[in-house]
Symmetry: C2
Subunit: 412 residues, 2 copies
């Protein structure tokens, strides 16, 4: 996937894919959002599923992140259900926030007749406001009655906050099976975007599901790899939120994969995560054109990552992309301050396939080439910094006046 060039930023199929076998889900409105829009999502596995998660690295972790983390530790990676509410992040809410989160989790466990620690939970929305847990508790029984296999759309819609569209992606993997019985494993993922659009909404939540049988360490390893190559390679506004989480659940309802199958399933999981991550980057009113930065020839992969991240997150590069101005000077300046050694004389910069800078000097560029360099829905910047083996990529989006307007609006 370091080689993957999914630069045409993902636009998903209009028809939502189905959940893998063994899962049922739903979404509805419990009244946390004043608008009456869907704000409560429930995903249930028919039998205890293998579970794993990667949580925000932010030390100010929201209450539901603390609860889910503890539950996964207690079960060793097992879950029956995931509840996600939108409209309130239950972050920076202290002990009271934890108590309210636990109340919703207990209600779900009673309803589903499973141990409390087999319920995972997250929240997304305003920070610093106490969760109206009663509304969730009251809504859960009705919601449980609408649980259904099939389309992931109701769940995907209920976790949205300021997202312009629901986000989903899916892959089917043909497996030969550990016991010789071939089967198709499905991976379906849904996500909601980061908070580039709205204040206090800096939360990214993704849920990846599969019906292959995977043990907890295997699932966790696959998830870590997938997140590293997807959600850890994007930046919306540089802030890591209090609630960012990626969950993975494996029902085992389809079959047991062979060692070869595992590799294919891992790759598919990364692809689904990557597709969702690109949707998150490009979603919303505040987002400019997508930006894909590929660096190669660095001394190490981590050098390449630092270079790609610095270019992709530079405010000057991001505004240049919005302005469709192939300003290689800003790209060069970003490379020079990335904190890793580069020799300016061996840097080559291409954008949209057009050479802009090479061997220490500006390249001759025709007006037509200039116009092409930063055109399109996604601007692709290719950088070669030497002859080393290190390569990596990073994705972001143009910074727009709309972003600043939306994030400057008085709303707390």
């Amino acid at each position: 996937m370091a080689d993957a060039r999914l630069d045409g930023m993902a636009t998903h199929a209009t028809t939502a894919p189905a959940w893998p076998k063994g899962f049922r889900a739903t979404g509805g409105a419990c009244g946390i959002k004043r608008s009456g829009a869907p704000d409560l999502a429930l995903l249930v596995c028919d039998a205890p599923a293998t579970a794993a998660a990667v949580f925000t690295r932010n030390l100010v972790a929201a209450a539901p992140v603390q609860v889910s983390r503890a539950h996964l530790a207690a079960t060793g990676g097992m879950a029956r259900a995931l509840i996600v509410n939108s409209g309130c992040a239950n972050a920076a809410t202290g002990d009271e926030g934890l108590a309210r989160c636990r109340r919703t989790v207990r209600a779900a466990a009673e309803l589903l007749q499973c141990p409390v620690d087999q319920v995972l939970v997250n929240s997304t929305g305003v920070i610093g406001v106490q969760l109206e847990a009663g509304k969730i508790v009251d809504a859960l029984p009705g919601l449980a009655r609408s649980l259904a296999a099939g389309s992931c759309e109701p769940f995907a819609r209920a976790i949205m906050t300021t997202d312009a569209a629901p986000k989903w992606a899916s892959r089917d993997v043909r497996c030969s099976g550990a016991d010789g019985a071939a089967f198709t494993a499905r991976i379906t993922g849904v996500a909601k975007g980061a908070g580039m659009i709205h204040p206090d909404m800096a939360t990214m939540i993704a849920t990846l599901t599969t019906d292959a049988t995977l043990d907890a360490p295997t699932l966790h390893g696959m998830l870590r790899d997938a997140v590293e190559r997807s959600f850890h390679r994007i930046s919306v506004d540089g802030d890591t939120s209090t609630n960012d989480s990626v969950f993975a659940l494996a029902s085992g309802a389809a079959g047991v994969p062979s060692r070869e199958d595992l590799k294919a399933i891992g790759t598919a999981l990364t692809e689904v995560a990557h597709e969702l991550a690109l949707m998150v980057v490009c979603d919303g009113e505040g987002a400019g054109p997508g930006i894909a930065v590929h660096v190669e020839g660095a001394r190490t992969a981590s050098d390449a990552l630092a270079l790609a991240r610095t270019v992709a997150t530079s405010l000057l590069v991001r505004t240049a992309v919005t302005g469709r101005d192939p300003n290689w000077g800003r790209i060069l300046a970003a490379l020079g301050r990335a904190g890793v050694h580069v020799d300016p004389a061996s840097i080559e910069v291409r954008a949209g396939g057009v050479a802009l800078f090479s061997r220490g000097a500006p390249a001759a560029v025709t007006p037509e080439e200039r116009a092409r360099a930063f055109a399109g829905d996604t601007v692709t910047i290719d950088v070669r910094v030497g002859t080393g083996p290190g390569r990596d990529s990073f994705w972001s989006a143009g910074l727009t006046t709309r972003y600043v307007e939306l994030n400057s609006a008085y709303t707390t």
Copy 2:
């Protein structure tokens, strides 16, 4: 200076201060700027001055930075003159750019009849365009005739690019003198701002002068301290430019300081640098309100710096300041991702003197207090993260739609 609270962002006296004794300077138009505005500045010391500089850490260093660095190394810290042109950065211009820079330096050395390596040089303006060295060479003799002691204004105006106003600051230090002969040492500094306003103009240049007698290691040490507490504590758009430089020159024309005097001179140098740095942060059309972030109670000073920098440079905090929205959730989220350990339960956040968050929970705030928290020309954010001895500060400015507009405009 870690304790200094120069939070009323500096607005300098309308009358420019005089240079210290032993310096003459001037500024004029040599034709690099199409507008005919002043674009060539010359500072000359009557006798060889002690010299030091702190240059950009960007590895893509401009030609004049490379030349000045080499000259200071060759002389061991001695200079007769500093030439600065605006309108062209002579950065990313390869060997040709170096040759052109050296041509201007040779012309200045011949004119002043000093060794070539006693001429320091810098440029500011568009990146990637070759310097019209002939214009500088032709203009130098006329410029040299207008050299004068006194006001630093002509020099300060000639180094401006997109700065809204020239920037200067000055301090007089009463010295008892090493030999018992009391004298007054003057420190005068001029600066031009960073490139938040205009594409390709991301250059900050400052020149600090004094008439105290200082040896090269002492001057260099004082300059390093001053820069660390001023220009290294500000962020305009997070990018470090190819040309950023702070020069220090000591003529020795006023007297020889005692050990006590040295301390006072160092403090004054830091104060002048700090005042200039705050002007750079707040200058220009694209800048919102000033932001001063003070962190205390951290485990170490470097932890405090990381926390202060992360808050001050957060896009979400910077847009909240522009919107006058005392959004403590964004401040908290920034603290949580600063890469150092903090315990959310012991964080206290105040803004404009108003307590917003303490002991893991939002503070009760009246509408009047809310309105006061993010008011004024400079928004002051005070953060306490514990009971450790670490404290530091960082300064930035609100992010505005105007910033994005100006930096998105097609101009390369």
